[in-house]
Subunit: 199 residues, 2 copies
């Protein structure tokens, strides 16, 4: 989803000759419980830009919920669910990558909706979330209304490209895709539902 940074207010691509300027620009925040570094399940420690408390009076247009082994009811902080529950009803778009959709489910955002998630965690997820959610096993990503849910990790890039096309238009999104050299998969191009025996 870091492709979206190409359309951020301080995106470096805008300074380059010949690059198209996006007609929409994002201001990005990375919101967490405290300003302490986040230790992800893979990669370097990352820094939040704001705390949940700091943004409690702000409504975001877009929220993106990442996943990982920390996206489980028994380990995740209640502040995350609270933030999602508060933001989702008036957000223009709600997105998740990987088991981020488990957080959306537990925050009540996916009730009556179609959604997908990481296939390695899929059975656990279905068994432990509301029966009112229509979990789609075979999908790279799923769009239902304003809710976009991607499958495991790398599917986030494919969904990110489709989302950027929706928000910034095809010309800009394609330029960004060409810079990051994404082999863009379609929403139904999913081999992993089969790999994990879900279909």
């Amino acid at each position: 989803m870091e492709m979206l940074s190409f359309a951020s207010v301080d995106a470096y691509v805008k300074a380059r000759t010949g690059w198209p300027t996006p007609n929409v620009e994002f201001e990005l925040d990375y919101v967490a419980e405290t300003m302490n570094p986040i230790v992800p399940s893979g990669g370097a420690r990352i820094l939040p830009s704001k705390t949940f408390e700091e943004v409690q009076d702000k409504q975001f247009d877009i929220i993106l919920v990442p996943g990982g082994p920390g996206a489980r009811p028994n380990v995740i902080s209640p502040s995350v669910h609270e933030f999602v529950r508060k933001q989702a009803p008036r957000a223009t778009y709600v997105l998740s990558v990987c088991t981020g959709s488990w957080i959306l489910a537990d925050a009540g955002v996916l009730e009556g909706k179609r959604a997908t998630s990481n296939k390695a965690a899929f059975r656990d997820l279905v068994a432990n979330t509301s029966r009112g959610i229509q979990w789609v096993p075979k999908a790279r990503w799923v769009v239902d209304g304003n809710i976009w849910t991607a499958s495991g990790v790398t599917a986030g890039a494919d969904m990110g490209y489709a989302f950027m096309t929706e928000v910034c238009g095809d010309v800009f999104a394609t330029r960004v895709k060409n810079i990051v050299e994404l082999h863009a998969s379609g929403p139904e191009d999913d081999e992993y539902a089969d790999v994990w025996g879900l279909v």
Copy 2:
């Protein structure tokens, strides 16, 4: 390349029932000039784990050099070239993603070697680096001896999977690929040399 974290000493996958344990484990460091947060061209600020000075007496087995708009001779810190120049001769593997290969080129590591890089920057790169380097325009990634160079950004995941197969074996690498749901491209599966008019 964060897939490699799955084989790190504190990888969470090892604690999961039924997961294979890698026969090789990585200890990861993110080395930079200072301990100040790094502001990448996209995404959240990240924290180094060590400074170049702290590791000056240490030889790493594997070094991975990332790219981005900062990987240019006129903007990059000389400490980065110095680090690469010092580490590369005795490293078991030297890897780069995107224009990280421009740094390798300027550090003298690619002399007489085949290598690739980001296709959007390719012409600039070829015009401004040693004639002794055999830049390969049509490649998702290139392996020459112990040097692995990937094309733009997302090609790093495909190369990362191939590299993990080499280092950790096929069974473990495939498990990780299945968790991150990577649509793994082969080394010659490159549409972007054509998109950028390089072939």
